[in-house]
Symmetry: C2
Subunit: 210 residues, 2 copies
């Protein structure tokens, strides 16, 4: 089926949201933990996390003003630090449930039954049930005027990775870590490796790294 | 294993690149097709595509100046349109091979053996072997000064989706479309749905949409 620009604009709102959210392909889906200025803990699911650079170690994600976890951005602006917690099969329903519109003074940790975990020297809670997680320090907020979203840029300052998932060259085997992928607004997947490929050079076809 | 900020900074460059690129979780991995101002076709693999909004239908991706497919950004700035082509299991090695540093006047379509496909009214080639694909119109480039990367923002203006993958509510079943997920710099995965969950509300636990 082919869909033109004019047809996209005329689609029913929810249909279009499902369609356009699916188009980008599989995506990262993580729980972001924050503290509010008042000291309340907050936990929200995001599916727009992306890699920005390895040196310095930076990541980014998009905050949409029309979507429920709006407390996250304000908390990051107020208190500067946040945690990123990968989702595995035993907690993906809990993770999804954080997208319900809870009041700002209610902690999603309690409401969705996930456990706060604190690392030494880091005041923001991680999710204990998450297997792979990292801590971030806020760097910059870039407003995207075209649709009123914002990009949060942060430095990765703390990593907790299971030993058996960390390969000798620094690659993390996300299958071993149990990390799930997301699609659209509401779908969760487990992944199976098809191949890890050698560095591409013009005169040589890639082969699998075994 | 726990890794602190100081340890991250001291890691060997390639090890750190693998580690930090893995941390974000599974990600979209797509082929972006462009035309140069001189009319040459270009094809490059990107793993930073993200959803920006459904109305208007917008997506974004990050271009890193230190990584090979630098021709893509210049082509988009020069000619304004590009195609995004999902990767499936039969072409993921070809897709990976586009990251080799080919000269600007060589087309990756030829070098990696993928077929140009043209849609009516759209001058930039799609990848024929790709099952799910869409065309984009450039909107804005935002420079990210902290590490010299740029974000390209584009409007989705044309969609080609297989009929059997498009659900009645607009959701695209990426498993049916054969779309692969990526991880790190060089790993490719197929995905299996664990669950599509109902819209989250504070007083109700999510259930699977069957």
């Amino acid at each position: 089926m082919q869909i033109t620009s004019e047809q996209i604009e005329q689609l029913e709102t929810r249909y279009r949201a499902n369609l356009i959210n699916s188009l980008g392909g599989f995506k990262s889906v993580v729980l972001i933990g924050t503290n509010s200025a008042e000291g309340n803990t907050n936990l929200a699911i995001f599916n727009s996390l992306f890699h920005l650079g390895a040196n310095p170690a930076l990541c980014g994600f998009i905050v949409r003003p029309d979507v429920s976890p709006r407390h996250t951005m304000q908390n990051i602006l107020d208190t500067k630090y946040f945690t990123v917690n990968h989702i595995n099969e035993s907690i993906y329903e809990n993770a999804h449930q954080t997208s319900a519109r809870y009041a700002a003074d209610v902690s999603e940790f309690d409401e969705v039954k996930l456990t706060r975990q604190y690392a030494e020297g880091f005041s923001v809670p991680f999710v204990q049930e998450s297997i792979l997680k990292f801590g971030c320090e806020f760097q910059q907020k870039i407003d995207i005027e075209i649709n009123g979203t914002s990009m949060i840029i942060a430095k990765i300052v703390w990593i907790d990775c299971p030993d058996d998932a960390l390969m000798t060259d620094g690659f993390i085997d996300l299958e071993i870590a149990g990390t799930m992928a997301g699609s659209g607004l509401d779908s969760y997947y487990k992944a199976e490796e098809v191949g890890r490929l050698t560095y591409a050079k013009p005169d040589k076809w890639p082969s699998k790294i075994l």
